[in-house]
């Protein structure tokens, strides 16, 4: 059974927000009750209370336990995020101003991330220029892409469909347009796509090479 990152993250979120909400409600309710109960009108002279050691210890210790619980949830979920399953399929992701590109093991390149349903995907991230961050909100994962270094992440495409990919680390003029998509296909459909792309790419290679030379000559001319 593979860990469910989305569920884990949402559970952590709910646990922390739940505890936080209770604390907030407690503090706010107490405060407003005191303001009402001990108003100048109702209680003209205050009582001289300067502290209480038991209380201080309690409200240091209890929150400490609570935050340790939160830490535990966060950490155990995080460990799963960082341990890609060994049967994961690897895709190389490159970020550059301002587009994402993907490269599969067999050399096929794409600007949409096609993945087969039900197979965990490990992404190897790198950057061609400045910092970017590969973010897929639907899968609750994000890792920064720093030039000169490698980073990785993994996710589990369980359902077919289209999911958003965004750049989450500011990278200049068109940062907000550095979008892409994950397309989760049934396994056999994905395999056909991969094979077809490979064939197409082989056919295109010769053409592409001449194209590159031509475009280089064009740039030189315009300069």
């Amino acid at each position: 059974m593979r860990p469910d990152i989305v569920r884990q993250t949402d559970i952590t979120f709910i646990v922390i927000v739940g505890i936080s909400f209770l604390l907030l409600a407690l503090v706010t309710a107490a405060m407003f009750y005191f303001i009402y109960k001990y108003s100048r009108k109702k209680n003209p002279v205050a009582t001289d209370i300067t502290g209480n050691t038991t209380l201080e210890i309690l409200w240091t210790a209890i929150p400490l336990v609570l935050v340790m619980v939160m830490f535990f949830f966060g950490y155990s979920g995080f460990k799963q995020m960082r341990n890609a399953p060994s049967d994961a399929m690897t895709v190389k992701v490159t970020g550059r101003m301002w587009a994402w590109s993907y490269e599969y093991d067999n050399g096929v390149k794409s600007d949409t991330l096609f993945v087969p349903k039900g197979i965990p995907i490990k992404l190897e991230l790198s950057s061609a220029d400045v910092n970017h961050s590969f973010y897929m909100p639907a899968f609750r994962v994000k890792e920064d892409v720093i030039p000169g270094r490698k980073n990785y992440m993994w996710f589990d495409p369980k359902e077919e469909g289209r999911y958003q990919v965004e750049c989450a680390e500011y990278c200049g003029l068109s940062h907000s347009y550095m979008l892409s998509q994950v397309l989760v296909l049934p396994a056999e459909k994905f395999n056909t796509w991969l094979a077809e792309s490979k064939l197409k790419e082989n056919a295109d290679t010769t053409k592409m090479q001449t194209d590159t030379i031509k475009s280089k000559q064009d740039t030189l001319k315009t300069k």
Partner: protein
């Protein structure tokens, strides 16, 4: 809490500095340590190179702060300050190295 009781005592608290002799002695020590550290650089101490060089540098800087900068005889508050400052600096280094040491292979 002498450090708290006010301004007036400050000029009275003027510290008597030690004589020329002690300073010259400290200086001789510093020069001696410099010679040692330069000499040691000639040998191959493998992993210990950095450690010895830094240890000697730390001893030298302790000599300078304690004697030339009078920390030894000054109010203890300065020792506390220096301790806090160094402690925070060291924590910065240690925490940074928790990242560097355990990073997964980069390239």
């Amino acid at each position: 809490m002498s450090e708290n009781t006010h301004i007036q005592e400050s000029s009275a608290a003027e510290l008597q500095h030690p004589g020329y002799g002690l300073y010259i002695l400290v200086w001789a020590g510093l020069v001696g340590l410099t010679t040692i550290t330069v000499a040691l650089a000639g040998f191959n101490l493998a992993g210990l190179t950095v450690v010895t060089a830094l240890a000697i540098a730390i001893v030298k800087s302790l000599l300078v702060t304690n004697y030339f900068m009078h920390v030894r005889t000054d109010s203890p508050i300065f020792k506390v300050f220096i301790f806090v400052c160094i402690a925070i600096f060291l924590t910065m280094i240690v925490l940074t190295f928790f990242d560097l040491t355990y990073r997964f292979p980069l390239k």
